[in-house]
């Protein structure tokens, strides 16, 4: 049995309640951090753990915290990215549903580390029931003195507010999230300045994904070395992989970073449903370039997938079987990005819509010669030219599909 950092207690009844949580070593990490460690030590530990962001970009969390200027007179903010919108991604829902206090511990410790007294959890609007559960968990933590003024006599104050989104994938992008939190349209901001220096309400801001923060308590309790050893030297810990699509046992699997994708699908998720053949895998949420069946003997970590021209993203694995029409996949992808483009920058707004229009026409049976080339050309014209990563997030999977399944797409035209 592999060691689990996040999901170990998911199956315990009422684990989301504070009294149950406390019976399982709950809030020991907060206690240790606030009473035995100082912020410098925590930062050092977080950096040493090589905890890469679990939201999609894979940026080391400790390094991110280190960017926040420590000597300004402005307040600093923590924004927890619980917008979980990347198609295929389900992990944060599980963490928040089954282990909300673990997340709160992570928030408390990282806020203490960076010197933050106000945190917002930006949770996707659809997760209303989970937001209520988090709200209750926060109330409980307040009552027990884990939140609020002078936490555990440390002199450190922290308040956490739940902020619900309202249906916009782009708000998972960190600067769009900030805009949304400020009561505006979710239009990503120009960078620089980066949120670490000018973020929420023009103040220094740390933005971390739910899963990233939920790893912090264990790192504090068991140390960076232990955490690193769970995964890979420069990409520590475990990940909650969400496996969905045509497998026997879709669900979440917490496994070490660096677990083989083939094993994930065939060993852990039970292999293909109804004995079908594997056609392709989207390894890290919809934005990650597709892998063909013969490309999945690969370890699931940031660097390896990048080398394979894909990305680990949110660790959401979508499995496609032999019956899947690649044109259908392309149609859904282009429809999604066109729908979710915020619309502010030219290539993303018009590029995604244009590609969608072509793909939709092809799926109506009205494709013509040159369409596939045109799709590839337009997607290339988006890559690297948009204001935020959504342009690339849309173009990369499209380009990978065109490259790897060109023959099949061409047959939809003839």
């Amino acid at each position: 049995m592999k060691e689990k950092v996040l999901s170990e207690h998911f199956s315990i009844d009422n684990f989301f309640k504070l009294d149950v949580y406390l019976k399982h070593n709950g809030y020991q990490a907060v206690k240790k951090a606030l009473t035995e460690l100082n912020p410098e030590k925590i930062l050092k530990e977080a950096k040493a753990a090589n905890l890469r962001g679990r939201g999609g970009a894979g940026f080391p969390a400790g390094v991110k915290w280190g960017f926040v200027p420590q000597n300004g007179d402005k307040p600093k903010y923590m924004c927890v990215n619980a917008d979980e919108g990347e198609p295929g991604t389900i992990k944060d829902r599980y963490i928040m549903t089954h282990n909300p206090h673990l997340l709160l511990e992570g928030i408390i410790i990282s806020s203490y580390c960076v010197g933050i007294n106000t945190a917002y959890i930006y949770i996707r609007g659809e997760y209303e029931n989970i937001a209520l559960r988090l709200e209750t968990a926060i109330d409980e933590a307040f009552q027990k003195g884990f939140l609020g003024k002078d936490i555990l006599g440390s002199g450190f104050d922290l308040d956490i507010t739940i902020h619900r989104g309202a249906g916009a994938y782009i708000c998972g992008e960190e600067t769009a999230l900030l805009e949304s939190l400020e009561g505006k349209r979710g239009n990503p901001r120009l960078k620089p300045p980066f949120p670490a220096s000018i973020g929420l309400f023009q103040c220094p801001t740390v933005i971390n994904n739910v899963e990233t923060l939920a790893n912090i308590p264990s790192i504090i309790l068991k140390g960076a070395e232990w955490f690193c050893a769970l995964g890979l030297p420069n990409d520590g810990g475990t990940r909650i992989f969400g496996v969905s699509g045509m497998v026997k046992n879709p669900g979440i699997y917490e496994l070490p970073v660096g677990t083989n994708l083939k094993d994930l699908i065939f060993k852990y998720a039970g292999g293909m449903k109804e004995g079908k053949k594997l056609k392709a895998v989207i390894p890290g949420g919809m934005s990650s370039p597709i892998l063909k069946a013969d490309e999945i003997d690969i370890t699931m970590d940031s660097d390896t997938l990048m080398k394979a021209d894909s990305m680990i993203g949110s660790g959401a694995v979508i499995v496609l079987d032999e019956d899947t029409s690649i044109l259908d996949v392309l149609t859904i992808i282009t429809k999604f990005y066109s729908h979710e483009s915020c619309g502010q920058c030219t290539p993303c707004r018009i590029g995604n819509s244009w590609i969608k229009k072509i793909v939709t026409r092809i799926s109506r049976g009205e494709g013509k010669d040159g369409d596939i080339d045109n799709i590839a050309r337009l997607a290339s014209n988006m890559v690297g030219k948009t204001l935020c990563p959504l342009g690339d997030a849309a173009a990369m999977p499209i380009l990978s599909i065109v490259k790897k399944f060109r023959d099949e797409l061409e047959t939809s035209i003839k």
Binding site: Q344, T346, G351, N381
Partner: protein, 514 residues
């Protein structure tokens, strides 16, 4: 100071400057739609992408700050390809009907297409249908199909005017800028939106389909309709040889001046150009059996009237009604001749009544040179009909605002007591028949000179248009009068241009030295 290289040219730049600004200073134009120097960069149109050596991706010229030694390429193959790509996206959903678009000739998209595009149209899908001909406000029509979403209009209304009537609604390909139903833009700065729009999305109802922009000449001028002294372009049509146009001036636009009006003008100034072509006084009018018709004779007649009183040492019988539309040079000559040489004390001002001011540009004065008059030493005593001394024999009036302020019958009653009334005015009015002689004059853009704005800033200008008919600039008339009066012949003889008058002012009045 730092050094960077743009297209292999060495350019000196200051810290904090953007690549865009550095290139602009070096005379290198970088295409852009959303960027406007009045606002912080948005980086949304993606037209200004440039290549910076050492960086993996193309970067925005509008928002990237220079670094010492930076090597920027604005025309490399990679950059040109990227621009073409962005332009292709913009044009895909844009109507292809330039010939019927009012912006043609003034349109950034059109310019960039000529420069970077000229590619085949690969867009064979159905275009988004959007609302066209939206009435945004009194002066504005909005065509959402032509909009490139640069958001200049939205930002202007929020950041400059503070009224925020427009917003960005919906998202993705459906994104549009618009107003809310029943809440039109009716602020005094609305006209700037049409000028600010880089494409044909917001057009000016006043200008729309009146002419084509390529027929227009842009003359640099100063707006005379309040004391801010906003810098403007007077866009006028030279006309065609075979037929006459109904007017000369087709629009007024804002001309950048960082110290005075930034990039904007108000609607009072923008739409105040009709007076340049309408109801103009073109011919000398002589009443009371005075049988002279040409300029020379009128001036001789006028001079004679003054001279007579001068010899009789009765110049106190002359009353002068001035206004602060007059230039510094004209007011200076008036002061020299009438106050200094002739010793006249009955000098009053009669200007259009003050209006509302705002915190943006518009001042309460509705004339351009009140400050100038004050600095020249005039006491701005507003004129009342009762000010007319019983002994007044000669009344010299500049401008016809008296007719706007007092009733004609009251004016008539006073005029009846006066032997000779001279009116110098650019416009026809009911006064024309009440005075002895009406002499047509030039309007501000039809003469040269200088004006002193509300903050004491002196702005010189040259004529953009010619005065119609017999119209003449007052400074010319006054310089000749000065010569003819023979009090100080030599002094006035040298005033052959406003510059010479200005130089004299500088010698005599410290305020104008700077």
């Amino acid at each position: 100071m730092m050094k960077i290289y743009i297209d292999d040219r060495e350019v000196h730049v200051e810290k904090g400057m953007t690549v865009f600004k550095a290139a602009e200073n070096a005379g290198i134009e970088i295409p852009h739609l959303c960027y406007h120097p009045a606002f912080p960069p948005e980086g949304t149109c993606r037209m200004c992408l440039v290549e910076i050596e050492g960086l993996p991706k193309l970067e925005l010229a509008c928002s990237t700050q220079v670094k010492d030694g930076m090597k920027v390429h604005t025309k490399s193959e990679k950059v040109v390809e990227a621009r073409k790509g962005v332009l292709e996206f913009l044009l895909a959903e844009h109507p292809m009907d330039c010939p019927i678009c009012d912006q043609a000739g003034d349109c950034k998209l059109q310019d960039y297409y000529e420069e970077y595009g000229l590619f085949e149209n690969n867009f064979s899908e159905s275009k988004e249908r959007r609302e066209k001909k939206i009435r945004l406000g009194k002066h504005l029509i909005h065509d959402n199909e032509r909009c490139v979403l640069c958001r200049r209009c939205v930002r202007f209304l929020r950041e400059v005017v503070g009224t925020g009537e427009m917003g960005v609604f919906e998202r993705g390909i459906a994104t549009e800028v618009n107003i809310l139903d029943g809440m039109p833009i009716d602020n005094n700065y609305s006209g700037n939106l049409a000028q600010l729009c880089p494409v044909g999305a917001i057009t000016d109802t006043d200008f729309r389909f009146q002419t084509r922009s390529w027929f227009l000449e842009k003359g640099e001028a100063i707006c005379p309709l309040c004391s801010r002294g906003c810098n403007i372009f007077i866009e006028h049509h030279r006309g065609f040889s075979r037929f006459d146009l109904p007017k000369r001036v087709y629009r007024i636009s804002a001309r950048e001046n960082a110290e005075i009006n930034s990039y904007w003008i108000c609607d009072i100034g923008r739409y105040g150009y009709y007076s340049l072509d309408e109801n103009r006084a073109e011919k000398i009018i002589a009443n009371n059996n005075i049988s002279i018709k040409n300029y020379e004779a009128v001036l001789a007649f006028f001079t004679e009237k003054i001279k007579r009183l001068l010899y009789k040492k009765k110049t106190s019988r002359i009353t002068l009604l001035l206004n602060t539309f007059l230039t510094n040079e004209e007011l200076f000559l008036l002061k020299k001749i009438f106050q200094d040489d002739l010793g006249i004390k009955n000098i009053f001002f009669i200007d259009p009544p003050a209006g509302e001011s705002d915190a943006i540009l518009l001042t309460s004065d509705r004339t351009p040179n009140k400050k100038g008059a004050e600095e020249l030493g005039f006491e701005i005593t507003p004129f009342e009909l009762g000010n007319l001394a019983d002994e007044t024999e000669v009344l010299i009036i500049f401008g016809n605002y008296i007719a706007e302020i007092f009733s004609l019958s009251d004016i008539q009653a006073y005029f009846d007591r006066i032997k000779d009334t001279f009116l110098f005015t650019p416009h026809r009015s009911e006064l024309d028949s009440k005075v002895g002689i009406m002499f047509p004059t030039a309007m501000t853009p039809e003469k040269g000179g200088s004006l002193t704005n509300v903050d004491g800033k002196i702005q010189k200008f040259s004529p953009v248009l010619e005065a119609p008919g017999d119209g003449k600039a007052e400074w010319k008339i006054l310089a000749e009068l000065g010569t003819k009066l023979d009090v100080n012949f030599k002094y006035y003889k040298k005033f052959l241009s406003p510059e010479e008058i200005f130089r004299q002012m500088q010698k005599e009045i410290p305020f104008f030295e700077k």
